[in-house]
Symmetry: C2
Subunit: 299 residues, 2 copies
């Protein structure tokens, strides 16, 4: 469950401020890449020990974790139990949780998915796919935060999302406009909507225009690190004051290796700290110096 | 699991021929609409008894059932167990199964979803969302059949899917072309691909052009009945010989009411028979008479 009555966007922004870095660690566990000491367990026990261990270890280091639903779903009902227990452990560690399931369906089914993500599993935010239209997105906003896929980081996305429409904008920009409009129904006191947007770090050239089209959306920015995105690439996803986006890293943090298999926690903590520092330095310090010379009209 | 080594499209088309009607019953169970006699059970026990009862009752009446994943997911791990048991019961009843989860993610996560849908839950087909691009769809085709969302039946879909691109086609038609091209990697002996397309019955004006763009795709056609689609509306989804599509009906069949709460099975069977007859008469008889005067060049 989300904390009572705090708007999802305010809660996420508060958590970012507390840590001082707009980052998110992605949990995409696969058995073959887990620490050796866990691989003596059954696959599902290993995924459980790893996931719960990682979220506890991230307490106070990052504001937020993102769980890749597919990595848990593939283990069937037992995997869903581990997903639930990981979200509970993350919430107990004070982390904001994003359940990355990319669901998208029409009215009543979208309502069921909203119940699933927020009530059943207790996520604060979920990722959603808006291809079916906004009647598949709106049901989420009454219950929690949702990041709609706008411009994804994978190479194959260009063949659809980059195509220009007769209105002089791309398909991704078309989705962005729909998202900006739909998100107006739920804006928190800090000026951001409970409908955010996924904008890949690998699409830096397009991020600036998407930022303008979606001023009230928090951007969830995957593709940093392992997929090739740099601090320079993610900067256009932020407002000039260094706010309004959260950068995710997954494999580069959770699969940080160790020479000592008995202590696989410390290397992950160090990798998360290093990631948080890199974004803090690259984004927030720039943001803070810019803020001193610009107004804060959005708030 | 799918029956060994039969291509998913061939298996579906064979099942349709055996029954003589290209229909699919959608299982979208919600507790509030279940037969009164089941509502004395716990919600999850009621969903289980209903789902397994319906699929057994449909044996020999329809070729195929579609399970709305959201209706099971909302009950958490226990719901996923009922989903698995319903698919097993459907397979035992000789029904082809479509798991309507509309998943869509990139490479490795798409592979996890493919494992989830076909290996973990045993579905023959799954629905997928292609907004991320074809690198999110291809991983499904090695393991089972997939229906990509092309033109959905809900009102809100127009604001995105109907928009024209600079290439003189709509966004839905753009997806259709990608689907047709991607589907060529896996075509069965009957000339259809394991990559099919969802095309809503409520979008009849667009179905004919989509049929031309996707000659090898089996169309999964929701929106018949409760959402307003008629036999005339679904006809353009078929090839002239009456093949290449499967029409789904959900609420109009599974929530067929009864005066006798002790026998809730018979009304559902009668509604399914009536639905299968309506499509058989409206599509196949037309198809057969047309086939007599046209060549069968596609096969």
């Amino acid at each position: 469950m989300t904390t009572e009555k705090i708007h999802p966007a305010d809660r996420l922004l508060d958590a970012i401020d507390l840590i001082g870095s707009p980052v998110c660690v992605g949990l995409d566990p696969v058995v073959e890449k887990l620490p050796l000491s866990l691989r003596t367990l059954s696959p599902i026990a290993a995924i459980s020990a790893f996931s719960v261990g990682v979220v506890k270890a991230l307490k106070g280091i990052v504001p937020c974790v993102k769980l890749q639903s597919a990595c848990y779903e593939r283990f069937g009902p037992d995997g869903m139990r581990v997903l639930a227990e990981t979200i509970t452990a993350a919430a107990e560690a004070g982390l904001v949780t994003i359940l990355d399931g990319k669901r998208g369906d029409i009215g009543i089914s979208a309502e069921h998915y909203s119940s699933t993500m927020y009530d059943q599993y207790g996520a604060d935010w979920a990722t959603v796919n808006a291809y079916l239209g906004m009647d598949g997105v709106t049901p989420f906003l009454a219950h929690g935060g949702a990041f709609a896929l706008v411009r994804t980081s994978n190479p194959g996305s260009d063949a659809l999302q980059s195509i220009q429409t007769v209105h002089g904008i791309s398909i991704a920009q078309t989705v962005a406009k729909l998202v900006a409009e739909t998100g107006k129904v739920s804006v928190g006191v800090r000026g951001f909507s409970s409908l955010g947007a996924v904008v890949g770090a690998t699409k830096a050239r397009e991020a600036a225009s998407l930022r303008i089209l979606m001023p009230q959306q928090i951007f969830l920015v995957p593709g940093f690190g392992a997929q090739g995105g740099t601090v320079e690439d993610v900067r256009p996803c932020f407002h000039e004051d260094g706010r309004g986006a959260i950068v995710t890293a997954s494999r580069s943090v959770i699969f940080a290796t160790s020479d000592n298999p008995a202590d696989w926690i410390s290397p992950i903590q160090r990798a998360a700290e290093s990631f948080a520092d890199e974004i803090r330095t690259g984004i927030l310090r720039v943001g803070i110096s810019r803020t001193e010379s610009t107004s804060t009209e959005r708030r």
